[in-house]
């Protein structure tokens, strides 16, 4: 991000990335179209996938020219964004509070630690049965894992702040709110963004699980529906789309982190 395409292409560092993607596609092609090993012959080869993906008249009804493709993307993206935003606000808030107040930590941390390991998939039945709409159920499931990843990393971030900064801040005349704003928040930002990266990843994972089981649209639903209809090409298109969206959303989180933590990237600049 932030560098021009031309510089990216001419930079030898990015050739490795191109080579590995090319190698993967080549291997996929050889296994499915050339060697046609047992079990691999069921898989669509990359040429078939790309042809269908880019075709104005796709045989299985899914390509970049069909509106259903964009509807599914839109549903999934909006669900992830809403869940991720909720997880960020509530997760960072709860994590900061846990790290900031010893008393609150003693009360709330055991509860958080008990609920945290419950896999998002285990939440599906309750979420669907209890929440008024299926849509809310899917968003809740997407939210829950992202939320705990954010809480835990934020808490660890606050706890990792060197005590000396709290002392220095008090010496210089800070009130509790100043310490919170100028020490606790910036001091835990690197860990918060690590948490948000993880949260974005698990949000996509749980989203697909939620959509497969209870959704009416979205990429997870698309993959599941094409599974029932044995439309292999569409399954692969759905998977690759998920991969690209996941990559892009993580890159956005990284970019936001970089913007907010200039001191971190500049330090790396000096060390290099």
């Amino acid at each position: 991000m932030g560098i021009s395409f031309k510089r990216w292409v001419t930079n030898p560092d990015s050739w490795g990335a191109v080579a590995s993607i090319f190698g993967f596609v080549l291997l996929w092609y050889v296994l499915t179209a050339v060697l046609r090993l047992p079990r691999f012959d069921k898989l669509p080869d990359p040429v078939a996938v790309v042809t269908a993906w880019l075709s104005p008249n796709p045989p299985d009804g899914l390509s970049i020219f069909t509106s259903v493709y964009y509807m599914d993307i839109l549903y999934s993206v909006v669900r992830v964004l809403v869940s991720f935003a909720l997880a960020t606000v509530l997760g960072v808030g709860l994590g900061l509070l846990l790290g900031w107040s010893r008393v609150f930590f003693d009360y709330a941390f055991p509860l958080v630690e008990t609920l945290r390991p419950i896999p998002p998939i285990a939440w599906i039945p309750l979420a669907v049965l209890v929440l008024p709409t299926t849509e809310m159920g899917v968003i809740f499931i997407t939210f829950i894992a992202a939320f705990f990843a954010t809480v835990l990393n934020t808490l660890l971030g606050v706890q990792s702040i060197d005590q000396v900064y709290f002392r220095a801040a008090k010496c210089l005349g800070s009130r509790p709110w100043d310490v919170f704003r100028h020490v606790v928040i910036p001091g835990s930002l690197p860990a918060i963004f690590t948490g948000l990266q993880v949260a974005m990843g698990v949000a996509w994972i749980s989203l697909v699980a939620g959509e497969m089981i209870s959704g009416q649209a979205g990429l997870g639903y698309l993959i599941y529906e094409d599974y029932s209809n044995l439309q292999f090409v569409n399954i692969v298109i759905g998977m690759l789309t998920l991969g690209l969206l996941g990559y892009g959303s993580s890159a956005l989180v990284r970019l936001a982190g970089k913007r907010l933590m200039t001191w971190e990237s500049r330090r790396r600049g000096v060390g290099a």
Binding site: V164, Y165, R167, A168, C171, W263, R267
Partner: protein, 291 residues
Amino acid sequence: MSVRGLGPDAGPKAGPDAKAGGDISIREVTKIYDPDGIHVVAVERCSLEIAAGEFLVVVGPSGCGKTSLLNVLAGFEDLTDGEILLDGKPIAAPGRPVEPGSDRIVVFQNGALFPWKTVLENIVYGPMVQRRRELGRARQAARNLLAQVGLEGIEGSYPAELSSGVQRRVEILRALINEPRVMLLDEPFRGLDAVAKSVMHQFLLDLFERTRLTMFFITHDLDEAIFLGDRVVVMTTRPCCPKLVLQVNLPRPRDHRALGDTRFLELKRAALEAVHEEALKAFRAGERELA
């Protein structure tokens, strides 16, 4: 408003300044830690008078309890017995809640500049949170301070982009802008190489000449202690209390030539003996603890 002795409206040499105060009276202070029932007496019945505008250096073996004394002085920890007065007013006594304040600012062992703030943001932090002056004026004062010590041009840098010597100087300026009555320095030049250390010594001596702030400086480097201080107090090993007080009669302003002065060498000899004795005691106590 400008920092005393450094601003344009200060006299050429402020000298000891009655208004600013900075007179510390440590009376029979005892500090006992009791982690998990293990009774550790860090400081015992320690009394020490520090005059306003005095540069006092405390020397003692590692772990002797001198940092505990500083923490109590700074208001980071409460004391078990005794009291501490600053300009006649009690700042620490048993049962009294601990309260750090910008009248006695600590410069920490490993540096405590906020890594997420630029040099300028670090220096104006005190005035900003104390809301003592308008931020624009605080920024101007910070720039003036930097310029006066030859550090202009680094305002926008983050601490990690600077050498540790420059970081320490910025940290001292961050303390100074608050016009503290006392500076508490806890081995602030530890870990710097010899060259950076000698630059820092000159920097601190120049600053002291101009401000005459009360300095409470902890070190275990004897050369540093005698070179900087008006008085050097050698502490006993745990529990910590003064063992030997040396009046340093080297004239000020001082520079590196003082290090070769015969008076310097005599003081060092006297201090070395006391420090060595305590170091041996600490070593034997350590052996006993291990046995």
